[in-house]
């Protein structure tokens, strides 16, 4: 116990009343009720009565993993999906019951095969369903850990999703912290899966992820079936990657009612693909991260009002709509804005304007304006981005003017990353050098160009940057395959460089 002794001596020097055991000696945050006395051995060797002596030939090669402290081994095992986890029970006697101590359930119905069944084809799916249900129940029953950290289920349901109620009931009783459900309903006649009553009793949730064919149904008349998640910090409502509709909001604004039941929410992401016409007011004073957008074009005219003054990270992807922020986001640090394209009639310059007004304090901005009509909008930036330090811009051949204007409004920019995202759209627009202003690019130290093809506009931009950036340190160009690195480097080296310390690199 030399370590705890020396550390405790250090602590005693200051005459503090503290335990002699440092945090490192405490078990990892698992609610395992078994006394983990094995943790007190700080070295990697640990006496294990069942450990075999190794044959002489294997001296150099030792089984170190089995002799790790139990809680550490459980922590490693917690990174495995349940199926692989249970398979470790056969490795050796040391491993036989370890899996039961891992407070996690992570099952995918797609990965669990039917046994040999001599049934007619019609019955196979039902049998699969019954079998999977049996697997989930039996895993829950075999687990020895009192608390359940994570319940993750990917379930392709043929017809009967009713078992979920019992499982979530168990999870709730075991104080589940993270719930991740991905549901796919095969039979469209059956409709989406409704969240069972026990879902609402998972009051200890910190992380909730729902995706697929799930209905968020809230019965406001029954308090026990209302959203009440006092510890929920992360909420992700996502679409699955199959061509199926995303989360259906079965009641008007039930999504918003869900949010009001999450008083400490910090991280929210959702898709707006199924938003119907109307006004949606999002009010989450604790929110730090917000990400939303469309995965499929939504033809409805909806308006989204966001009241999230503590926001630090904002991501938007899709077709821009009327998104209104209550006020400028004072704390925003990073923002990723991907505007896929827009319908010319519907697009309003003021939407983009409003967006950038709210994001004015941003430090790290990633902006990808797709589509062809940007040059018609004029200036879209209400004011200068004084805090903007890093800009990642994906240019598509029609958006050079957007970049141009932005560079003039970012006097403190240190890093500029341009990505060539040219689509096949023909354009007669081009990069135009901004009016001379000594502040432009005056702080730029790093310049990256990804997917450099040597196109005319790209070359003009590069020339401009090299010419104006007085304190530029590195300019790195990632060329697409088929380009000779040396010839590109040679060409670029010919351009006049303002900064004497600038290093050119081609990868």
């Amino acid at each position: 116990m030399t370590l705890s002794l020396s550390l405790s001596l250090l602590k005693k020097k200051k005459k503090k009343e503290k335990e002699t055991v440092t945090p490192a000696f405490q078990p990892l945050a698992s609610a395992n009720p078994k006394p983990l006395t094995s943790l007190m051995a700080e070295s990697s060797t640990q006496s294990n009565s069942k450990r075999q002596t190794l044959s002489p030939g294997k001296d150099a090669v030792v089984d170190r993993i089995s002799s790790l402290p139990e809680s550490l081994l459980c922590h490693i095992l917690s990174f495995l999906p349940t199926k692989e986890l249970i398979a470790t029970s056969i490795l050796s006697t040391r491993w036989k019951l370890l899996w039961t101590l891992v407070p996690k359930l992570d099952l995918d119905s797609d990965k669990i095969n039917t046994l040999e069944l001599s049934l007619h084809d019609d019955d196979v799916e039902d049998a699969r369903e019954i079998m999977f249900a049996h697997v989930v129940s039996s895993v829950l029953a075999q687990q020895e850990c009192g608390e359940l950290q994570t319940f993750r289920l990917r379930w392709e349901i043929w017809s009967d999703g009713s078992h979920l109620d019992a499982w979530l009931g168990t999870a709730a009783a075991r104080k589940v912290k993270e719930l991740d459900l991905e549901i796919l309903m095969y039979d469209s006649d059956v409709g989406n899966l409704k969240l069972p009553p026990s879902f609402f009793s998972c009051r200890t949730l910190v992380v909730l992820k729902l995706s697929g064919d799930i209905d968020i149904d809230i019965d406001i008349d029954t308090p026990s079936l209302s959203f009440n998640f006092p510890s929920l910090k992360i909420l992700h409502l996502v679409e699955i990657s199959l061509p199926m509709p995303s989360i259906m909001y079965s009641q008007e604004h039930s999504f918003l009612r869900l949010l009001s039941g999450c008083p400490v929410l910090e991280d929210l992401s959702f898709t707006t693909t199924d938003f119907s016409e109307g006004e949606y007011k999002l009010c989450v004073p604790t929110l730090k991260r917000l990400s939303f957008g469309e995965t499929d074009f939504n033809y409805s005219d909806y308006e989204l009002e966001i009241n999230a003054p503590a926001l630090e990270y904002f991501e938007f992807y899709g077709d821009l709509r009327a998104i209104k922020f209550y006020e400028k986001l004072d704390n925003v640090v990073q923002s990723d804005v991907y505007i896929s394209r827009y319908v010319p009639e519907g697009f309003r310059r003021k939407w983009v304007f409003n967006l950038f007004a709210a994001l004015n304090n941003v430090k790290f901005l990633s902006f990808s304006p797709r589509g062809t009509e940007w040059h018609n909008l004029g200036n879209i930036y209400p004011s200068s981005f004084q805090n903007l330090v890093e800009l990642k811009f994906k240019v598509n051949g029609c958006s050079w003017n957007v970049l141009q204007d932005l560079l003039q409004k970012a006097p403190n920019l240190e890093t500029l990353v341009i990505t060539n995202g040219y689509d096949s759209v023909e354009s007669n627009l081009y990069w135009k050098e901004p009016q001379y202003d000594p502040a432009n690019l005056s702080s730029l130290t790093s310049f990256y160009y990804r997917g450099f093809k040597g196109l005319k506009d790209e070359v003009e931009l590069v020339k401009y940057v090299l010419k104006e950036a007085r304190v530029l340190k590195t300019a790195t160009f990632q060329v697409s395959s088929g380009e000779s690195k040396e010839s590109v480097l040679e060409k670029l080296s010919m351009f006049p460089r303002c900064s004497t310390t600038c290093l050119l690199r081609v990868e």
Binding site: T2, L3, S6, L7, L10, K11, K13, K14, K16, K18, T22, P23, A24, L28, E42, S43, S44, K50, Q52, L54, K58, V61, V62, D63, R64, I65, L68, P69, L72, H75, I76, L77, S78, F79, L80, T82, K83, E84, I86, A87, T88, S89, I90, L91, S92, T93, W95, K96, I112, N113, L115, V135, S138, V139, Q142, V333, Q334, K363, F364, E390
Partner: protein
């Protein structure tokens, strides 16, 4: 402010406080005011400590560049088993959560997609079950042992 850390083989490392306090263990020592002298780390050898400190330094430098950081982490963790276990134990002892998780993830990845026999071979685990015992375990959760 710089701190001095001493490895098990008595090598002294001078580190910026900002870098060192990524270890919750060291952080609590600093907060308790016990970090004025050299901090002994008898459970971490110099080779491992050097790697750990490189991790910590890069996590301070690249804190806001997620892409770059991920690239670094993926490269960092490509080490052979012996080094991996040393890192794991050091991260546990020093209480560096992200390093611990990354190392655990890496070990877990070694277990994925392999039959029990293959796992035993990779990790040098000796099978001390009798064939009857093994069969019993398989039967209890047959679905977990099927492809």
């Amino acid at each position: 402010m710089a701190l001095e850390l001493k490895s098990s083989d008595n090598k002294i490392f001078e580190v910026e406080e900002l870098v060192a306090v990524q270890s919750e263990t060291i952080k609590s020592l600093v907060e308790d005011g016990c970090a004025d002298n050299v901090i002994p780390l008898p459970n971490v050898d110099s080779k491992t400590l050097e790697l750990v400190l490189d991790w910590c330094k890069n996590h301070v430098d690249m804190k806001l560049d997620e892409e770059k950081l991920k690239e670094y982490e993926d490269k960092f963790i490509e080490v052979d088993q012996a080094v991996l276990y040393d890192l794991l134990l050091a991260a546990n002892y020093l209480n560096i959560k992200d390093l611990l998780n990354r190392a655990c993830q890496k070990v877990a990845d070694m277990l994925k997609g392999k039959t029990p026999e293959q796992i035993r071979e990779t990790l040098n685990i000796v099978n001390d079950f009798s064939p009857e015992e093994e069969e019993e375990i398989r039967k209890e959760n047959l679905w977990a042992f099927e492809e």
